[in-house]
Symmetry: C2
Subunit: 275 residues, 2 copies
Protein backbone atom coordinates (compact mmCIF):
# COMPACT_ATOMS: atom_id res chain seq x y z
CA UNK A 1 0.00 0.00 0.00
CA UNK A 2 1.14 3.51 -0.69
CA UNK A 3 -0.36 6.95 -0.12
CA UNK A 4 -0.62 9.12 -3.22
CA UNK A 5 -1.17 12.88 -3.29
CA UNK A 6 -2.96 14.62 -6.17
CA UNK A 7 -2.95 18.32 -6.97
CA UNK A 8 -6.36 18.93 -8.52
CA UNK A 9 -7.51 21.92 -10.59
CA UNK A 10 -11.17 22.34 -11.49
CA UNK A 11 -13.74 24.76 -12.73
CA UNK A 12 -16.51 24.40 -10.16
CA UNK A 13 -19.42 25.60 -12.34
CA UNK A 14 -20.84 22.13 -13.00
CA UNK A 15 -20.28 20.68 -9.52
CA UNK A 16 -22.11 20.72 -6.19
CA UNK A 17 -18.81 21.51 -4.52
CA UNK A 18 -15.99 19.18 -3.51
CA UNK A 19 -17.51 16.89 -0.95
CA UNK A 20 -19.40 13.68 -1.78
CA UNK A 21 -23.16 14.08 -1.30
CA UNK A 22 -25.72 11.41 -2.17
CA UNK A 23 -27.33 11.97 -5.57
CA UNK A 24 -25.11 14.95 -6.48
CA UNK A 25 -22.15 15.33 -8.79
CA UNK A 26 -19.18 16.63 -6.84
CA UNK A 27 -15.48 16.92 -7.63
CA UNK A 28 -14.69 14.30 -4.99
CA UNK A 29 -17.24 11.81 -6.36
CA UNK A 30 -15.90 12.20 -9.91
CA UNK A 31 -12.33 11.65 -8.66
CA UNK A 32 -13.33 8.58 -6.63
CA UNK A 33 -15.07 7.00 -9.61
CA UNK A 34 -12.26 7.73 -12.08
CA UNK A 35 -9.56 6.49 -9.66
CA UNK A 36 -11.51 3.34 -8.80
CA UNK A 37 -11.94 2.52 -12.49
CA UNK A 38 -8.29 3.26 -13.25
CA UNK A 39 -6.77 1.31 -10.36
CA UNK A 40 -9.30 -1.53 -10.17
CA UNK A 41 -10.09 -1.08 -6.48
CA UNK A 42 -12.43 1.13 -4.49
CA UNK A 43 -10.70 4.45 -3.90
CA UNK A 44 -11.85 7.17 -1.51
CA UNK A 45 -9.87 10.40 -1.54
CA UNK A 46 -9.36 12.80 1.38
CA UNK A 47 -9.45 16.43 0.26
CA UNK A 48 -7.62 19.38 1.77
CA UNK A 49 -10.25 22.02 1.08
CA UNK A 50 -13.94 21.11 0.82
CA UNK A 51 -14.84 23.92 -1.54
CA UNK A 52 -18.48 25.01 -1.92
CA UNK A 53 -20.75 24.52 -4.88
CA UNK A 54 -19.54 26.69 -7.78
CA UNK A 55 -16.11 27.49 -6.30
CA UNK A 56 -13.07 26.84 -8.51
CA UNK A 57 -9.56 25.66 -7.71
CA UNK A 58 -6.17 25.81 -9.37
CA UNK A 59 -4.59 23.47 -6.83
CA UNK A 60 -6.67 21.63 -4.28
CA UNK A 61 -4.98 18.60 -2.72
CA UNK A 62 -6.29 15.08 -2.25
CA UNK A 63 -4.68 11.90 -0.97
CA UNK A 64 -5.66 8.23 -1.20
CA UNK A 65 -4.19 4.84 -0.45
CA UNK A 66 -3.74 2.21 -3.12
CA UNK A 67 -2.21 -1.22 -3.55
CA UNK A 68 -1.96 -0.76 -7.32
CA UNK A 69 1.45 -1.08 -8.95
CA UNK A 70 1.14 1.98 -11.18
CA UNK A 71 3.95 4.44 -10.24
CA UNK A 72 2.50 7.37 -8.27
CA UNK A 73 3.89 10.01 -10.65
CA UNK A 74 2.27 8.31 -13.66
CA UNK A 75 -1.24 8.32 -12.14
CA UNK A 76 -1.86 11.97 -13.13
CA UNK A 77 -1.49 11.24 -16.86
CA UNK A 78 -3.65 8.10 -16.82
CA UNK A 79 -6.27 9.68 -14.56
CA UNK A 80 -6.66 12.80 -16.73
CA UNK A 81 -7.66 10.52 -19.62
CA UNK A 82 -10.70 9.47 -17.56
CA UNK A 83 -11.63 12.89 -16.14
CA UNK A 84 -13.89 15.49 -17.74
CA UNK A 85 -12.25 18.65 -19.16
CA UNK A 86 -13.25 20.71 -16.11
CA UNK A 87 -11.17 18.61 -13.69
CA UNK A 88 -7.45 18.20 -14.43
CA UNK A 89 -4.93 16.60 -12.09
CA UNK A 90 -1.82 18.76 -12.13
CA UNK A 91 0.51 16.33 -10.43
CA UNK A 92 0.58 13.04 -8.58
CA UNK A 93 3.29 11.77 -6.23
CA UNK A 94 3.80 9.38 -3.37
CA UNK A 95 3.74 10.88 0.14
CA UNK A 96 4.33 9.57 3.64
CA UNK A 97 1.72 7.03 4.73
CA UNK A 98 0.54 9.24 7.59
CA UNK A 99 0.27 12.48 5.59
CA UNK A 100 -3.24 13.93 5.98
CA UNK A 101 -4.03 17.10 4.00
CA UNK A 102 -6.43 18.53 6.61
CA UNK A 103 -4.46 17.59 9.72
CA UNK A 104 -1.07 18.73 8.43
CA UNK A 105 -0.50 22.44 9.09
CA UNK A 106 -0.80 24.41 5.91
CA UNK A 107 -1.06 27.83 4.31
CA UNK A 108 -3.92 28.31 1.89
CA UNK A 109 -4.41 31.04 -0.68
CA UNK A 110 -7.75 32.08 -2.14
CA UNK A 111 -8.64 34.72 -4.69
CA UNK A 112 -11.99 36.45 -4.97
CA UNK A 113 -12.27 38.12 -8.40
CA UNK A 114 -14.68 40.97 -9.11
CA UNK A 115 -15.33 42.27 -12.63
CA UNK A 116 -16.01 45.94 -12.00
CA UNK A 117 -17.43 47.60 -15.10
CA UNK A 118 -20.69 48.64 -16.67
CA UNK A 119 -21.45 45.40 -18.54
CA UNK A 120 -20.60 41.73 -17.98
CA UNK A 121 -17.86 40.18 -20.13
CA UNK A 122 -18.86 36.75 -21.51
CA UNK A 123 -15.37 35.22 -21.40
CA UNK A 124 -15.11 36.02 -17.67
CA UNK A 125 -18.63 35.10 -16.63
CA UNK A 126 -17.86 31.80 -14.92
CA UNK A 127 -15.02 32.79 -12.61
CA UNK A 128 -15.54 36.45 -11.77
CA UNK A 129 -18.36 38.18 -9.91
CA UNK A 130 -19.79 40.94 -12.10
CA UNK A 131 -20.40 44.06 -10.02
CA UNK A 132 -21.24 47.29 -11.82
CA UNK A 133 -21.10 49.95 -9.07
CA UNK A 134 -17.62 51.55 -9.12
CA UNK A 135 -15.34 50.25 -6.36
CA UNK A 136 -12.86 52.45 -4.49
CA UNK A 137 -9.97 50.00 -4.47
CA UNK A 138 -7.82 52.14 -2.17
CA UNK A 139 -10.52 52.03 0.53
CA UNK A 140 -10.83 48.28 0.08
CA UNK A 141 -7.07 47.98 0.59
CA UNK A 142 -7.26 49.98 3.82
CA UNK A 143 -10.16 47.83 5.01
CA UNK A 144 -8.33 44.61 4.12
CA UNK A 145 -5.38 45.52 6.34
CA UNK A 146 -7.51 45.12 9.49
CA UNK A 147 -7.95 41.43 8.67
CA UNK A 148 -4.25 40.57 8.68
CA UNK A 149 -3.09 38.81 11.84
CA UNK A 150 -4.58 36.36 14.30
CA UNK A 151 -8.21 37.28 14.96
CA UNK A 152 -11.50 35.76 15.95
CA UNK A 153 -13.27 35.74 12.56
CA UNK A 154 -16.69 34.82 13.99
CA UNK A 155 -18.29 37.81 12.20
CA UNK A 156 -16.94 36.43 8.90
CA UNK A 157 -18.19 32.90 9.44
CA UNK A 158 -21.44 31.34 8.22
CA UNK A 159 -23.88 30.64 11.06
CA UNK A 160 -24.00 27.08 9.66
CA UNK A 161 -20.36 26.47 10.54
CA UNK A 162 -19.53 23.70 12.98
CA UNK A 163 -15.99 24.92 13.71
CA UNK A 164 -14.99 24.66 17.38
CA UNK A 165 -12.78 27.74 17.23
CA UNK A 166 -13.32 30.75 14.99
CA UNK A 167 -9.78 32.07 15.52
CA UNK A 168 -7.67 32.04 12.35
CA UNK A 169 -4.42 33.64 11.27
CA UNK A 170 -4.56 35.69 8.06
CA UNK A 171 -0.99 36.20 6.80
CA UNK A 172 -1.85 38.55 3.97
CA UNK A 173 -4.87 40.16 2.34
CA UNK A 174 -4.20 42.18 -0.80
CA UNK A 175 -6.61 43.95 -3.10
CA UNK A 176 -5.19 43.94 -6.63
CA UNK A 177 -6.49 45.97 -9.53
CA UNK A 178 -5.93 44.97 -13.16
CA UNK A 179 -7.09 47.56 -15.68
CA UNK A 180 -5.61 45.69 -18.65
CA UNK A 181 -7.78 42.57 -18.40
CA UNK A 182 -10.85 44.15 -19.98
CA UNK A 183 -11.67 47.38 -21.81
CA UNK A 184 -13.44 50.08 -19.79
CA UNK A 185 -13.25 48.43 -16.44
CA UNK A 186 -11.05 46.42 -14.21
CA UNK A 187 -10.65 43.12 -12.50
CA UNK A 188 -10.43 43.65 -8.73
CA UNK A 189 -8.89 40.64 -6.99
CA UNK A 190 -8.92 40.03 -3.24
CA UNK A 191 -6.02 37.65 -2.59
CA UNK A 192 -5.97 36.22 0.90
CA UNK A 193 -3.53 33.83 2.53
CA UNK A 194 -3.93 32.22 5.93
CA UNK A 195 -3.54 29.13 8.06
CA UNK A 196 -7.17 28.18 7.50
CA UNK A 197 -10.53 29.63 6.59
CA UNK A 198 -13.96 29.25 8.17
CA UNK A 199 -17.10 28.27 6.26
CA UNK A 200 -17.85 31.09 3.75
CA UNK A 201 -15.12 33.25 5.33
CA UNK A 202 -13.52 34.46 2.09
CA UNK A 203 -16.91 35.13 0.47
CA UNK A 204 -18.13 37.13 3.50
CA UNK A 205 -14.84 39.07 3.53
CA UNK A 206 -15.34 39.79 -0.19
CA UNK A 207 -18.96 40.85 0.35
CA UNK A 208 -17.91 43.15 3.19
CA UNK A 209 -14.95 44.68 1.32
CA UNK A 210 -17.31 45.41 -1.58
CA UNK A 211 -19.47 47.37 0.90
CA UNK A 212 -16.30 49.30 1.80
CA UNK A 213 -15.56 49.81 -1.90
CA UNK A 214 -18.94 51.46 -2.53
CA UNK A 215 -18.81 53.55 0.65
CA UNK A 216 -21.56 51.73 2.57
CA UNK A 217 -18.94 50.90 5.16
CA UNK A 218 -15.74 52.74 6.10
CA UNK A 219 -12.38 50.92 6.02
CA UNK A 220 -12.22 51.30 9.82
CA UNK A 221 -15.51 49.44 10.17
CA UNK A 222 -13.63 46.20 9.46
CA UNK A 223 -12.03 46.55 12.89
CA UNK A 224 -15.41 47.03 14.59
CA UNK A 225 -16.95 44.12 12.66
CA UNK A 226 -14.14 41.80 13.80
CA UNK A 227 -14.68 42.93 17.41
CA UNK A 228 -18.45 42.33 17.31
CA UNK A 229 -18.00 38.60 16.70
CA UNK A 230 -21.44 38.53 15.08
CA UNK A 231 -22.19 37.42 11.50
CA UNK A 232 -24.86 40.12 11.18
CA UNK A 233 -22.25 42.85 11.60
CA UNK A 234 -20.49 41.89 8.36
CA UNK A 235 -21.64 42.33 4.76
CA UNK A 236 -23.36 39.77 2.53
CA UNK A 237 -21.78 36.53 1.34
CA UNK A 238 -20.44 37.23 -2.15
CA UNK A 239 -21.43 34.67 -4.84
CA UNK A 240 -19.45 31.42 -5.12
CA UNK A 241 -18.43 31.81 -8.77
CA UNK A 242 -15.96 34.64 -7.92
CA UNK A 243 -13.96 32.43 -5.59
CA UNK A 244 -10.92 30.38 -6.62
CA UNK A 245 -8.79 28.30 -4.29
CA UNK A 246 -5.29 29.05 -5.58
CA UNK A 247 -3.20 26.51 -3.73
CA UNK A 248 -1.87 25.08 -0.52
CA UNK A 249 1.60 24.98 0.96
CA UNK A 250 2.13 22.40 3.69
CA UNK A 251 4.30 23.44 6.57
CA UNK A 252 5.88 20.09 7.23
CA UNK A 253 8.52 20.38 4.60
CA UNK A 254 8.22 23.33 2.26
CA UNK A 255 11.78 22.73 1.01
CA UNK A 256 10.90 19.43 -0.63
CA UNK A 257 10.44 19.46 -4.38
CA UNK A 258 6.82 20.47 -4.73
CA UNK A 259 5.13 22.89 -7.05
CA UNK A 260 6.40 25.69 -4.83
CA UNK A 261 5.66 29.38 -4.69
CA UNK A 262 5.33 31.25 -7.93
CA UNK A 263 4.60 34.92 -8.35
CA UNK A 264 2.45 35.15 -5.24
CA UNK A 265 0.61 31.92 -5.80
CA UNK A 266 1.16 28.99 -3.57
CA UNK A 267 0.83 25.47 -4.76
CA UNK A 268 1.15 22.21 -2.96
CA UNK A 269 4.58 21.28 -1.71
CA UNK A 270 3.91 18.20 0.37
CA UNK A 271 5.94 15.64 2.21
CA UNK A 272 6.99 13.75 -0.88
CA UNK A 273 8.64 10.39 -0.44
CA UNK A 274 11.43 9.33 -2.74
CA UNK A 275 11.15 5.59 -2.95
CA UNK B 1 -34.61 55.63 -39.69
CA UNK B 2 -31.36 55.72 -37.81
CA UNK B 3 -28.17 53.65 -37.91
CA UNK B 4 -27.15 52.11 -34.60
CA UNK B 5 -23.74 50.70 -33.74
CA UNK B 6 -23.27 47.88 -31.24
CA UNK B 7 -20.06 46.82 -29.55
CA UNK B 8 -20.48 43.09 -29.03
CA UNK B 9 -18.50 40.77 -26.73
CA UNK B 10 -18.92 37.01 -26.93
CA UNK B 11 -17.44 33.71 -25.97
CA UNK B 12 -17.38 31.85 -29.28
CA UNK B 13 -17.38 28.30 -27.88
CA UNK B 14 -21.06 27.62 -28.62
CA UNK B 15 -21.25 29.37 -32.00
CA UNK B 16 -20.44 28.49 -35.60
CA UNK B 17 -18.66 31.81 -35.92
CA UNK B 18 -20.11 35.25 -36.56
CA UNK B 19 -21.71 35.02 -39.97
CA UNK B 20 -25.25 33.78 -40.60
CA UNK B 21 -25.30 30.28 -42.13
CA UNK B 22 -28.45 28.27 -42.79
CA UNK B 23 -29.23 25.79 -40.01
CA UNK B 24 -26.39 26.92 -37.76
CA UNK B 25 -26.31 29.03 -34.62
CA UNK B 26 -24.03 32.01 -35.15
CA UNK B 27 -23.46 35.21 -33.20
CA UNK B 28 -24.97 37.24 -36.04
CA UNK B 29 -28.12 35.08 -36.20
CA UNK B 30 -28.66 35.35 -32.45
CA UNK B 31 -28.24 39.15 -32.62
CA UNK B 32 -30.63 39.44 -35.58
CA UNK B 33 -33.31 37.43 -33.79
CA UNK B 34 -32.99 39.28 -30.47
CA UNK B 35 -32.97 42.71 -32.18
CA UNK B 36 -35.96 41.85 -34.38
CA UNK B 37 -37.95 40.69 -31.34
CA UNK B 38 -36.94 43.75 -29.32
CA UNK B 39 -37.64 46.36 -31.99
CA UNK B 40 -40.62 44.71 -33.67
CA UNK B 41 -39.17 44.81 -37.18
CA UNK B 42 -36.84 42.59 -39.18
CA UNK B 43 -33.27 43.59 -38.32
CA UNK B 44 -30.13 42.46 -40.18
CA UNK B 45 -26.82 43.55 -38.70
CA UNK B 46 -23.58 44.21 -40.59
CA UNK B 47 -20.54 43.00 -38.66
CA UNK B 48 -17.01 44.41 -38.74
CA UNK B 49 -15.16 41.14 -38.23
CA UNK B 50 -16.65 37.84 -39.37
CA UNK B 51 -14.88 35.74 -36.77
CA UNK B 52 -14.54 31.96 -37.28
CA UNK B 53 -16.27 29.20 -35.40
CA UNK B 54 -14.96 29.09 -31.83
CA UNK B 55 -13.23 32.49 -31.92
CA UNK B 56 -14.07 34.95 -29.11
CA UNK B 57 -14.40 38.72 -29.04
CA UNK B 58 -14.26 41.44 -26.43
CA UNK B 59 -15.43 44.10 -28.86
CA UNK B 60 -16.65 43.23 -32.31
CA UNK B 61 -18.75 45.92 -33.99
CA UNK B 62 -22.11 45.64 -35.74
CA UNK B 63 -24.46 48.22 -37.21
CA UNK B 64 -28.11 48.10 -38.25
CA UNK B 65 -30.84 50.46 -39.34
CA UNK B 66 -34.08 50.85 -37.44
CA UNK B 67 -37.20 52.96 -37.43
CA UNK B 68 -37.90 52.15 -33.79
CA UNK B 69 -38.23 55.00 -31.33
CA UNK B 70 -36.09 53.43 -28.60
CA UNK B 71 -33.07 55.72 -27.96
CA UNK B 72 -29.91 54.17 -29.46
CA UNK B 73 -27.99 54.26 -26.18
CA UNK B 74 -30.76 52.36 -24.36
CA UNK B 75 -30.80 49.46 -26.83
CA UNK B 76 -27.76 47.77 -25.19
CA UNK B 77 -29.58 47.35 -21.85
CA UNK B 78 -32.83 46.08 -23.36
CA UNK B 79 -31.03 43.80 -25.82
CA UNK B 80 -28.85 42.16 -23.17
CA UNK B 81 -32.04 41.02 -21.41
CA UNK B 82 -32.82 38.96 -24.53
CA UNK B 83 -29.33 37.64 -25.25
CA UNK B 84 -27.73 34.48 -23.81
CA UNK B 85 -24.96 34.91 -21.19
CA UNK B 86 -22.22 34.27 -23.75
CA UNK B 87 -23.12 37.33 -25.87
CA UNK B 88 -23.18 40.73 -24.15
CA UNK B 89 -23.55 44.06 -25.92
CA UNK B 90 -21.07 46.47 -24.34
CA UNK B 91 -22.47 49.65 -25.81
CA UNK B 92 -24.99 50.96 -28.33
CA UNK B 93 -25.02 54.39 -29.95
CA UNK B 94 -26.30 56.17 -33.03
CA UNK B 95 -23.80 56.64 -35.88
CA UNK B 96 -23.84 58.40 -39.25
CA UNK B 97 -26.28 56.80 -41.70
CA UNK B 98 -23.48 55.89 -44.10
CA UNK B 99 -21.12 54.40 -41.53
CA UNK B 100 -20.15 50.86 -42.61
CA UNK B 101 -17.91 48.89 -40.24
CA UNK B 102 -16.12 46.96 -43.00
CA UNK B 103 -15.76 49.81 -45.48
CA UNK B 104 -14.54 52.38 -42.95
CA UNK B 105 -10.78 52.22 -42.44
CA UNK B 106 -9.98 50.66 -39.09
CA UNK B 107 -7.32 49.22 -36.85
CA UNK B 108 -8.06 45.80 -35.40
CA UNK B 109 -6.37 44.06 -32.50
CA UNK B 110 -6.35 40.32 -31.95
CA UNK B 111 -4.81 38.22 -29.21
CA UNK B 112 -3.78 34.60 -29.55
CA UNK B 113 -3.33 33.07 -26.09
CA UNK B 114 -1.24 29.96 -25.45
CA UNK B 115 -1.23 28.16 -22.11
CA UNK B 116 2.31 26.81 -21.96
CA UNK B 117 2.69 24.28 -19.15
CA UNK B 118 2.69 20.58 -18.48
CA UNK B 119 -1.05 20.16 -17.84
CA UNK B 120 -4.20 21.95 -19.02
CA UNK B 121 -5.91 24.34 -16.57
CA UNK B 122 -9.72 23.85 -16.49
CA UNK B 123 -10.58 27.52 -15.89
CA UNK B 124 -8.64 28.52 -19.03
CA UNK B 125 -9.70 25.70 -21.32
CA UNK B 126 -12.15 27.66 -23.47
CA UNK B 127 -10.05 30.66 -24.45
CA UNK B 128 -6.44 29.53 -24.45
CA UNK B 129 -4.67 26.94 -26.58
CA UNK B 130 -2.98 24.41 -24.33
CA UNK B 131 0.51 23.64 -25.61
CA UNK B 132 2.86 21.63 -23.42
CA UNK B 133 6.22 21.85 -25.22
CA UNK B 134 8.24 24.72 -23.66
CA UNK B 135 8.23 27.86 -25.81
CA UNK B 136 11.24 30.14 -26.18
CA UNK B 137 9.39 33.45 -25.93
CA UNK B 138 12.46 35.52 -26.82
CA UNK B 139 12.80 33.70 -30.14
CA UNK B 140 9.08 34.18 -30.80
CA UNK B 141 9.53 37.92 -30.18
CA UNK B 142 12.38 38.08 -32.67
CA UNK B 143 10.30 36.18 -35.21
CA UNK B 144 7.27 38.42 -34.65
CA UNK B 145 9.26 41.53 -35.52
CA UNK B 146 9.55 40.43 -39.17
CA UNK B 147 5.77 40.67 -39.50
CA UNK B 148 5.54 44.35 -38.58
CA UNK B 149 5.03 46.65 -41.56
CA UNK B 150 3.28 46.45 -44.91
CA UNK B 151 3.81 43.00 -46.40
CA UNK B 152 2.20 40.52 -48.72
CA UNK B 153 0.86 38.02 -46.20
CA UNK B 154 -0.09 35.38 -48.77
CA UNK B 155 1.93 32.73 -46.88
CA UNK B 156 -0.20 33.48 -43.80
CA UNK B 157 -3.54 33.27 -45.57
CA UNK B 158 -5.86 30.28 -45.87
CA UNK B 159 -6.01 28.85 -49.40
CA UNK B 160 -9.80 29.23 -49.07
CA UNK B 161 -9.54 33.01 -48.91
CA UNK B 162 -11.26 35.08 -51.59
CA UNK B 163 -9.34 38.28 -50.84
CA UNK B 164 -8.28 40.21 -53.95
CA UNK B 165 -5.11 41.53 -52.34
CA UNK B 166 -3.09 39.75 -49.69
CA UNK B 167 -1.14 42.89 -48.74
CA UNK B 168 -1.83 44.07 -45.19
CA UNK B 169 -0.18 46.48 -42.76
CA UNK B 170 0.71 45.05 -39.36
CA UNK B 171 1.33 47.95 -36.96
CA UNK B 172 2.52 45.89 -34.02
CA UNK B 173 3.06 42.26 -33.07
CA UNK B 174 4.07 41.61 -29.48
CA UNK B 175 4.66 38.35 -27.68
CA UNK B 176 3.75 38.80 -24.01
CA UNK B 177 4.54 36.35 -21.23
CA UNK B 178 2.54 36.20 -17.99
CA UNK B 179 4.01 33.85 -15.39
CA UNK B 180 1.55 34.92 -12.68
CA UNK B 181 -1.61 33.67 -14.39
CA UNK B 182 -1.10 30.03 -13.52
CA UNK B 183 1.23 28.04 -11.28
CA UNK B 184 4.13 26.27 -12.97
CA UNK B 185 3.67 27.67 -16.40
CA UNK B 186 2.81 30.77 -18.28
CA UNK B 187 0.32 32.36 -20.55
CA UNK B 188 2.03 33.41 -23.79
CA UNK B 189 0.00 36.00 -25.68
CA UNK B 190 0.59 37.06 -29.28
CA UNK B 191 -0.99 40.51 -29.57
CA UNK B 192 -1.25 41.79 -33.11
CA UNK B 193 -2.61 45.06 -34.46
CA UNK B 194 -3.13 45.93 -38.09
CA UNK B 195 -5.29 47.54 -40.71
CA UNK B 196 -6.91 44.22 -41.57
CA UNK B 197 -6.33 40.50 -41.42
CA UNK B 198 -6.71 37.77 -44.03
CA UNK B 199 -8.71 34.59 -43.52
CA UNK B 200 -6.96 32.58 -40.71
CA UNK B 201 -4.03 35.04 -40.77
CA UNK B 202 -3.66 35.42 -36.99
CA UNK B 203 -4.07 31.69 -36.41
CA UNK B 204 -1.42 30.85 -39.05
CA UNK B 205 0.91 33.47 -37.55
CA UNK B 206 0.36 31.90 -34.12
CA UNK B 207 0.98 28.39 -35.47
CA UNK B 208 4.18 29.57 -37.17
CA UNK B 209 5.48 31.49 -34.14
CA UNK B 210 4.88 28.36 -32.03
CA UNK B 211 7.19 26.52 -34.47
CA UNK B 212 9.75 29.26 -33.82
CA UNK B 213 9.18 28.89 -30.06
CA UNK B 214 10.03 25.18 -30.12
CA UNK B 215 12.99 25.63 -32.45
CA UNK B 216 11.48 23.95 -35.53
CA UNK B 217 11.91 27.27 -37.31
CA UNK B 218 14.42 30.06 -36.69
CA UNK B 219 13.17 33.62 -36.04
CA UNK B 220 14.74 34.66 -39.36
CA UNK B 221 12.62 32.09 -41.19
CA UNK B 222 9.65 34.44 -40.78
CA UNK B 223 11.29 36.72 -43.34
CA UNK B 224 11.78 33.85 -45.81
CA UNK B 225 8.19 32.61 -45.29
CA UNK B 226 6.80 36.08 -46.07
CA UNK B 227 8.91 36.23 -49.22
CA UNK B 228 7.74 32.81 -50.46
CA UNK B 229 4.11 33.95 -50.72
CA UNK B 230 3.02 30.33 -50.31
CA UNK B 231 0.75 28.97 -47.56
CA UNK B 232 2.80 25.77 -47.41
CA UNK B 233 5.88 27.70 -46.29
CA UNK B 234 4.23 28.74 -43.01
CA UNK B 235 3.35 26.63 -39.96
CA UNK B 236 -0.01 25.06 -39.12
CA UNK B 237 -3.19 27.00 -38.37
CA UNK B 238 -3.42 27.21 -34.56
CA UNK B 239 -6.82 26.19 -33.08
CA UNK B 240 -9.64 28.74 -33.04
CA UNK B 241 -10.27 28.68 -29.28
CA UNK B 242 -7.02 30.54 -28.54
CA UNK B 243 -8.04 33.54 -30.64
CA UNK B 244 -9.84 36.61 -29.28
CA UNK B 245 -10.74 39.69 -31.25
CA UNK B 246 -9.90 42.47 -28.80
CA UNK B 247 -11.40 45.49 -30.48
CA UNK B 248 -11.53 47.89 -33.39
CA UNK B 249 -10.64 51.55 -33.71
CA UNK B 250 -12.12 53.33 -36.70
CA UNK B 251 -9.90 55.84 -38.42
CA UNK B 252 -12.62 58.29 -39.41
CA UNK B 253 -12.78 60.06 -36.10
CA UNK B 254 -10.75 58.49 -33.31
CA UNK B 255 -11.15 61.63 -31.20
CA UNK B 256 -14.89 61.20 -30.80
CA UNK B 257 -16.10 59.79 -27.49
CA UNK B 258 -15.82 56.06 -28.01
CA UNK B 259 -14.55 53.33 -25.81
CA UNK B 260 -11.02 54.39 -26.76
CA UNK B 261 -7.64 52.86 -26.17
CA UNK B 262 -6.96 51.30 -22.84
CA UNK B 263 -3.77 49.62 -21.74
CA UNK B 264 -2.92 48.35 -25.19
CA UNK B 265 -6.41 47.25 -26.06
CA UNK B 266 -8.36 49.01 -28.68
CA UNK B 267 -12.10 49.21 -28.63
CA UNK B 268 -14.54 50.74 -30.99
CA UNK B 269 -14.51 54.50 -31.32
CA UNK B 270 -16.84 55.16 -34.21
CA UNK B 271 -18.35 58.11 -35.93
CA UNK B 272 -20.91 58.79 -33.23
CA UNK B 273 -23.70 61.25 -33.99
CA UNK B 274 -24.95 63.55 -31.30
CA UNK B 275 -28.57 64.17 -32.11
Amino acid sequence: MKRVMLIVAYEGTAYQGWQVQPGRVTVESVLNEALSALLGEKITVIGASRTDSGVHSLGNVAVFDTGARMPADKISYALNQRLPADIVVQRSCQVAGDFHPRKCKSTKTYEYRILNRRFPMPTLRRDTYFYYRPLDVEKMRRGARYLVGEHDFKSFCSIHSQAKSTVRNVYDCQVLCDCGAVPDGRLVTIRITGNGFLYNMVRIIAGTLIQVGIGELAPEDMDRILAERNREAAGPTAPALGLTMMGIAFEEDPALPGMGFQDGMIVAAAHEKNL
